[in-house]
């Protein structure tokens, strides 16, 4: 097991946890166990997908993001907004007004992910053409997908798009530019992301592959939403003229983004939802999807619009964003400086390394012994996969027993059968 202490933007409130095991059953990496009636998360296994946050009915698993007032520690404050944010408002609230409202939360400048979408598409195409030996290239923008590949599909790490994601590219670009323009030192500038999911909060606090510290904090869409709505009410009748980039909002929608990368010599596939992502990754491992050059993988339904920190249903949000893309007009952006930085290799990331969690033992001989014992326990267990023991499946319980993390007495079905036998005696 790894010695690194993994940070996760998820907190369990023990007082609220009823031990219902709903979270245990939806965790794609089997990272959660209920022991002594309370849920616990194995920090080595968790990939921050947010499934447990979304499923918990008792507010016992809650996302953690930074409090808004940390922005006041900086002289110059910049917000970078995730594209999915603009799908969260009813249609009477315009894109421009929503963006202005974020500015009035106390920022000096607001940028958005959508500004660099076109640049990203060009960069992705260029990267794919230069890395044909590692096809298919797998998108790396979703931090949950990157972590999922690290823990469960390490053979596919070289296939990941090894360049920064759009909000990090903007962060690097803006920090230099604003420092020069405002005559400030880099540390006087605070750059914050407004994000739709726990994985992005985690990625801000513990980035994978980043050469240097990027952002100074992350705020969840859900947390700032109430305040933004209040400001919207005030400014809605007298909106300022503000630049918007509707054509770039495609970044929030996994299918649309893949369509943009797809061209004569690049075949792209789009997949979203963590179960689908896992199925596809397994097929890529088998070289079954070698006909694709690029695969867009997003852990949430429909892409970032499905993030668990959003307020709107992912399908409604997607439809609204599609409407904005169709009806709006983007402000032109000069990407020459970004192109130059890319050519210099400034957006490259450190080669990503595995975070293996699957092995039963470092030594294959011991692992085989454990496997045999797991199979022995498995024949004793009822095979109902009811999760009542606190492990997700009978197999997982057998594994937990062999790894010394549970005992066969944790199985309530066996216990009940035993009691019945005792009664009959």
């Amino acid at each position: 097991m790894s010695d690194i202490n993994y940070f996760h933007a998820i907190q369990i409130l023990e007082d609220n946890c009823t031990g219902c095991t709903a979270c245990v059953r939806v965790c794609p990496t089997e990272a959660i166990r209920v022991r002594d009636g309370k849920a616990t998360i194995d920090t080595n296994r968790c990939v921050d997908c947010g499934n447990c946050v979304a499923v918990c009915k008792f507010h016992a698993i809650i996302p953690s993001s930074d409090p808004l007032d940390i922005i006041h520690k900086f002289k110059y404050k910049i917000a970078i907004i995730s594209s999915s944010f603009f799908g969260q408002f009813t249609e009477d609230i315009s894109y421009g007004v929503a963006k202005q409202a974020v500015l009035e939360l106390g920022f000096d400048e607001v940028a958005e992910e959508a500004m660099v979408t076109e640049f990203m598409i060009g960069m992705i195409r260029d990267y794919i053409r230069a890395n044909r030996d590692k096809r298919p290239t797998l998108s790396s923008n979703c931090p949950a997908v990157v972590r999922l590949i690290q823990v469960q599909y390490p053979a596919l790490l070289p296939n990941l798009f090894h360049q920064e994601a759009p909000m990090s590219i903007l962060t690097r670009f803006l920090r230099d530019k604003v420092a020069q323009r405002e005559k400030l030192s880099e540390s006087e500038i605070g750059i914050f992301l407004i994000v739709p999911c726990v994985a992005h909060v985690t990625a801000v606090h513990q980035p994978e592959g980043a050469y240097k510290h990027l952002q100074d904090g992350a705020f969840s869409t859900g947390m700032i939403y109430g305040k933004v709505r209040e400001i919207v009410k005030k400014i809605q009748n007298d909106p300022k003229d503000i630049d918007t980039y509707p054509q770039g909002l495609t970044w929030a929608l996994s299918g649309v983004q893949a369509d943009l990368v797809d061209c004569e010599d690049i075949r792209a596939l789009s997949v979203n939802g963590v179960e689908n992502v896992m199925d596809i990754l397994s097929k890529v491992e088998d070289h079954y999807l070698d006909q694709y050059d690029y695969i867009v993988l997003r852990s949430c339904t429909n892409g970032c619009v499905g993030g668990c920190l959003n307020v709107e249903n992912p399908f409604v949000a997607m439809s609204r964003i599609k409407k904005m893309i169709k009806e709006g007009e983007s402000k032109d952006i000069n990407v020459d400086e970004l192109e130059a930085l890319y050519a210099k290799g400034d957006f490259a990331v450190v080669p990503l390394t595995p975070r293996p969690i699957m092995e039963l033992d470092k030594d294959i001989k011991h692992a085989i012994k454990k496997m045999k014992r797991i199979n022995e326990f498995l024949t004793m267990l009822p095979g109902l996969n009811c999760s009542a023991c606190g492990s997700p499946t009978c197999y997982a319980l057998a594994e937990d027993i062999v790894q010394g993390k549970a005992t066969i007495d944790d199985c309530v079905i066996l216990l009940k059968r035993q009691n019945k036998d005792d009664d009959e005696d």
Partner: protein
């Protein structure tokens, strides 16, 4: 084939873990599940990822072959601490000309199989390329046995 390698095909008695999987005829909904199960098991044993991918490709191809071309069969995986031996036995109709079947691009797949995106004639060549030893025994009209070995180091 060297004798030492041949012997590896008959170590079944000492297999540490075995897995069996039925492959029904033309069941493309489930074809691939057997090799996927083997892959997940090997991940738990900590088999190195490059070797794991070779095993995954070879076993997936062989499993699809049984589903696509035979009247059904079964897959048996014998796992040792240094290698895996996977056997695919089907209920016929047998391979007429094994040498021909080994030529990349040669295929006898029917229309249904091709419609599903299989049958490009790369199955057996792919298995050979990814395994350390391959053994096929078959005659037209009889059952076929395809078995291969892949070492962990």
């Amino acid at each position: 084939m060297e004798n030492a390698l041949k012997e590896c095909f008959s170590r079944a008695q000492e297999a540490e873990v075995t897995l069996e999987f039925d492959i029904p005829e033309k069941d493309f909904n489930n074809a691939g599940k057997g090799s996927s199960e083997v892959k997940n098991l090997l991940k738990r044993l900590g088999v190195e990822s490059d070797i794991l991918r070779r095993i995954a490709v070879a076993s997936y191809e062989a499993e699809i072959n049984v589903a696509a071309h035979s009247k059904g069969g079964k897959m048996m995986s014998l796992i040792y601490d240094d290698m895996i031996h996977i056997k695919f036995e089907d209920m016929g109709p047998g391979i007429g000309d094994i040498a021909q079947a080994m030529i990349p691009g040669y295929s006898t797949a029917d229309d249904l199989v091709r419609e599903l995106g299989f049958g490009a004639g790369l199955g057996l060549p792919n298995i050979q390329r990814n395994s350390d030893a391959l053994h096929i025994s078959s005659e037209a009209g009889e059952s076929t046995l395809v078995e291969f070995l892949i070492f962990f180091t």
